[in-house]
Amino acid sequence: MDTAHADDVKKTVRTYIFVFVALMGLTVITVAISYLHLSVTAAVTVALIVATVKASLVAMYFMHLVSERKAIYWTLALTAFFFILLMFLPIFTDQNSTRLFH
């Protein structure tokens, strides 16, 4: 965004404020939902969806990923791939064992 002009910046400032409001709203929602004591699966799903939306907003607008360069998308795509792999790690630790001696 280093090529952006001051006028564009003014427009984006409005976006920032909008995003800020959205983030606050989502924070309230996620806290509120937690008081409903949903089942574990439902709670996890909702919480993670809300968190992902919030994180995307931050990444897209504050970190201006919406208008970033190819090199950075490639880096992030690679990282995302390995990140997902890392999330599978708990499955890999699932061993061929019984818990016989408890």
Partner: protein, 196 residues
Amino acid sequence: MNIPYTSTARPDTGLYNAKLGIWLFLASEVMLFGALFSTYILLRVNAVSWPHGYEILNVPLATLNTVVLISSSVTMVMAWASLMMKKFDKYKMYMGLTILLALVFLVVKYFEYSAKFEHHLYPSTNTFLAIYFTVTALHGLHIIGGVIVNAYLWGPGSKMWKTDPQRFTNRVEVAGLYWHFVDLVWIFLFPVLYLL
């Protein structure tokens, strides 16, 4: 001789050096927190019993901290936008606010921690607290690092605005990218540790 592309972008990549650098650094941070997150999942799935975060931790305080951190992200991005609009005074104000909010976050965290210790809840008490303390402490260290960088850019580092405004703006943008990332991590930590 000067190193090229410290303030202007290289035409074919469209990036200046530090921006690519910080994104690469953030990529490694993703893997760092990813590994901890993965640890959390593993431990939780395998645990015989796992407490709900809200039974042990202070949700209102953490909500406050979430609000504080998100606000600091906004002030950070505003600081950068002010520089883009060549308004140095506004930059000073927004950057100052960012630092202040970060300090508020740390103070709140301090109260959270000491409340836990008072109730004899330590990292060694159980696996939930172990992961809670480890991850939030690491995140706290990231906040402290950010505060130091931001304080430098607010104070002595801001002299560069006079000599090389473009490069200074870049620096603020890069610091901002880091700061938003720290915020982003918290956005995940908060529900995962406190609400689930």
